[in-house]
């Protein structure tokens, strides 16, 4: 089976999770000659694509044009389509990221293909593939079979599959020249967020606050803890609806689904919709004054205490520990 992996970059930086996709692609392909990477953008020299060396693919397709500096669905779709055809890919793997989840469904529709998004496990290869994906924000796992009579597309959830340098694959760069289609869609600019931290969906550590924080200012104590352990700060829907945190910080069914190694829930009771968004976190610490709070049912470690007392103690103690 020939596998093409869409390698995502922004500002000429390859996403670390893209190496997870490439590792998976190389394994499914079975041989470096049957695995190719695709990088789309502008000024993609070796300082960008060199990172792919050793991850099991012989070919790195590069589509490098000024019009592709910023992500543009229509133009990137043309690049991906060309690479699929040039390589003769049977399976395309991308990330379940804002870019991957935008681009791959468009291509699947164009090529009348099979697609499963936000995949957390994948079995098979060389034909039929069975993918596992969370539905109902993780309250259910669905097994979906991608039929072999079609081009297959999957986007994988970041932080689930392992990135592993296999030490194989020559990663030979092949430039693809593409005649870009005429489109009315223009990418104007990317406005940087106030929050330059790792996005919640990719964060390996998250400190999250609920309505008990009682004000936007009080999120400061969560930020202090997050700074000490290199975490991203999240919030419950109750905290967002109360105006204590912006919506892009919301974890839960109508917010973000997260999958960190460590999730520290501060003053979050654990509504069904919140837990749906974070229950797959590997280790969950819950701090809440109510011993009956549902969050304690899924917490690895729970502390029944006032978060305003416990969180600063966590900050001091973890800081001491990490400085050792």
């Amino acid at each position: 089976m020939k596998v093409l992996v869409f390698i995502e970059q922004r500002d000429r930086k390859i996403k670390s999770s893209a190496l997870e996709a490439l590792t998976l692609g190389a394994k499914l392909a079975g041989s470096p000659k049957d695995c190719a990477a695709l990088v789309v953008g502008h000024q993609l020299d070796d300082s960008v694509v060199g990172k792919l060396k050793g991850y099991g693919s012989d070919t790195t397709y590069v589509v490098d044009q000024p019009e592709l500096k910023l992500y543009n669905t229509v133009l990137y779709a043309a690049a991906l389509e060309q690479a699929i055809k040039t390589f003769g890919a049977d399976l395309v793997i991308g990330l379940a990221s804002p870019m991957g989840r935008d681009l791959l469904p468009r291509l699947a529709a164009r090529l009348d293909g099979a697609i499963v998004s936000d995949v957390t496990a994948l079995e098979g290869g060389g034909g039929k593939i069975q993918a596992t994906k969370p539905m109902y924000a993780g309250k259910v796992l669905a097994k979906v079979t991608l039929l072999e009579n079609a081009k297959q597309f999957v986007t994988i959830r970041p932080n689930v599959f392992k990135a592993e340098s296999l030490g194989t694959g020559s990663s030979t760069v092949t430039k693809l020249d593409i005649k870009l289609p005429a489109t009315s869609l223009k990418s104007v600019e990317v406005r940087k967020g106030a929050n330059e931290k790792v996005d919640l969906t990719e964060a390996s550590r998250i400190v999250s606050g609920g309505r008990s924080l009682a004000s936007a200012e009080n999120f400061k104590i969560l930020n202090e803890l997050a700074d000490v352990i290199g975490a991203t700060v999240g919030a419950s829907r109750a905290a967002v609806d109360s105006g204590y945190a912006p919506h892009d910080m919301q974890v839960g069914q109508t917010g973000k689904t997260v999958n960190p190694n460590l999730y520290i829930a501060c003053g979050i009771s654990g509504s069904i919709q919140h837990m749906a968004g974070m229950r797959t976190s590997k280790v969950i610490v819950a701090i809440n004054t109510d011993p009956e709070a549902p969050i304690f049912k899924i917490a690895t470690y729970g502390i029944v205490a006032d978060l305003f007392k416990a969180v600063p103690l966590f900050t001091t103690k973890l800081k001491k520990l990490l400085e050792k």
Binding site: A108, K139, K143, L185, V190, R191, N195, K282, I284, V285
Partner: protein
């Protein structure tokens, strides 16, 4: 301009999801169905565009069954002009591309100048429909949209991506835009609005009305649902109580390092 808003019926977000006995779906008995929460933002935005005089008609479109009636009536009560419910009786297991083919056919038949949808449905969480409908119509699509400004035949659109970054686009119309939560605040629907909404045009259609054949769509699908399973149970955790909070925190910090090995 006519705006078509794609609506899906989904279980309420506070629903405790139970897998059905055959593992191929969820129990729907006693489950409250609502319009997919993100679709409310799409409906609201369509109404705002109409109120600015930039559109003449807002039409709700749903591929579904009777469960969709109430959410659609609610959308009409918000102010949409009419609703089209395309029956999915023979298409309940069709994949997202099959659904997108039906929706695109209706958009074409209606001659819409703009399609709005929620960024994703909270049941299958696929996020496929916007990009697919855009592709099938050969229109641009922009998903996870937080701001829309229509200026004649073009629109300036903001889309939220990772790390709080925002991609800014200019696009020609027609196009497909997928609404995110921070796009607007959906209006409240009063009871008398619902009574009035029941008198608005509500068409129930079949896929054949749009030149499609249900059997061909089912045969043409490329992914098959093999079954549902519950997520793995978390083993019971340790809960610490007591007045000496410092001591409780100390114990957990130690466990995070020595037992869980995450610090």
């Amino acid at each position: 301009m006519k705006i078509l808003v794609l609506v899906k019926q989904t279980p309420d977000t506070e629903t405790k999801i139970r897998i059905s006995a055959n593992n191929m779906g969820i129990e729907t008995d006693g489950v409250k169905f609502i319009a997919n929460p993100y679709d409310d933002f799409a409906i609201e935005e369509a109404l705002k565009i109409k109120e600015k005089g930039q559109a003449q008609e807002v039409v709700l479109l749903c591929l579904g069954d009777e469960k969709a009636r109430e959410p659609l009536i609610k959308g009409l009560a918000m102010g949409a002009d009419r609703a089209i419910l395309v029956e999915n009786a023979q298409l309940t297991q069709v994949d997202s591309l099959g659904v997108a083919k039906v929706l695109a056919a209706v958009v074409k038949a209606e001659g819409a100048g703009l399609v709005l949808s929620g960024k994703q449905a909270i049941d299958d969480d696929n996020m496929h429909i916007g990009p697919m409908v855009g592709e099938l119509l050969n229109w641009p699509h922009i998903n996870v949209v937080t701001k829309i400004e229509i200026n004649g035949q073009t629109a300036r659109v903001e889309r939220e991506v990772e790390g709080g970054q925002v991609e800014i686009y200019e696009t020609g119309l027609p196009c497909v835009l997928g609404a995110h939560k921070s796009l607007n605040t959906p209006r409240y629907t009063a009871l008398q609005g619902i009574m009035k909404a029941k008198k608005k045009p509500f068409e129930v259609k079949k896929v054949a009305d749009y030149g499609l054949d249900a059997a061909t769509l089912v045969k043409g699908q490329k992914t098959i649902l093999s079954g549902f399973m519950p997520p793995p149970e978390k083993p019971a955790g340790k809960v610490f109580k007591g007045d000496d909070v410092e001591n409780l925190v100390e114990q957990v910090v130690k466990l995070l390092r020595d037992e869980a090995k995450v610090i």
